[in-house]
Amino acid sequence: MIPTPDLSHLKREDYDHVYEPAEDTFILLDALEQDASELRELTPRVCLEIGPGSGCVTSFVGSILGTSCLYLTSDINAHASLCALRTGRQNKVVVDPVTANLVDPFRSRLYRNVDLLIFNPPYVLTDELEVVDAQEQGGIAGAWAGGTIGMQVTDVVLDQLDELLSPTGRFYLVAVKQNDVHNLQRRVQEKFNVQSEVVLQRRAGREHLFVVRFMR
């Protein structure tokens, strides 16, 4: 059993700006824990989490893989970058956060160099314009507003998957039923021949949550 990261240093004010870990975070932790021994055997050197929010997930991965891996995070919300850094320190994991739009500044240097890519995206169904506004503002709404089928931001990352994943790379993605999980898996398979499977799913209140694992 890998303990959930200590988040006691984060206060109410932090959660005014940064997404507070919830069921979607915990299902992702559970999926990663389930794969912990496989992940250790793969010896990933570069882990990149998009949208770390509080930094809970990356710190958790850090407690699985220790100092054998570099932990990068990229968040459009500068407050989230700071929280990711602090949560790393609180849990003795060195996290290197970057404030950026998705993977933009890493695209050339991390070309097929990401061993472990993680994304709990803004998957909630909203108006399309709401996504654009939320991302531009870089605030907490950017953590959930996802467009008409909740895939507006996720689609951008899926389109870049082939240029991100290393030959042994894997990608863990959180989704909800309304995102049409089967369809998104099929699209990635057709486009890049990257295989995927649902490694965990559960209902949490009104949400039906999935964790999809993509592998070359």
Partner: protein
Amino acid sequence: MVRLITHNLLACHAKGCTTNNFPLKLQDVVVEVREAEFNADFLRGFLPRIEWTALVNAAKELGDTSLPLEMPEMVDDEFLKNLHHVLLEIHVDEGAMVCPNCGHKYPIMNGIPNMLLAEHEIG
């Protein structure tokens, strides 16, 4: 924190800036050295992913000349110790990274680089 390992992975991505956009030049930096746990396997595994000249030059800009100009074929303990220090223990807490091509300035505050672009700068 912008450690040199991260600096080695970041390129300018402003609109139209596709050549000579790496490595970013460190400017007005405040540097702090923080000890990190040594892990030889990680260093050996990460070595092939480093842009060597960029790392050597960035270290030099920060006053560290312990790395050889060419990546050595034989990796010994002393080399790994120096590499560990340069990649993982030198932190840029404040300052900026400037694109050598278009001059775009990415600020570093509280050890975090801000790589966001304004809407008209997005490619």
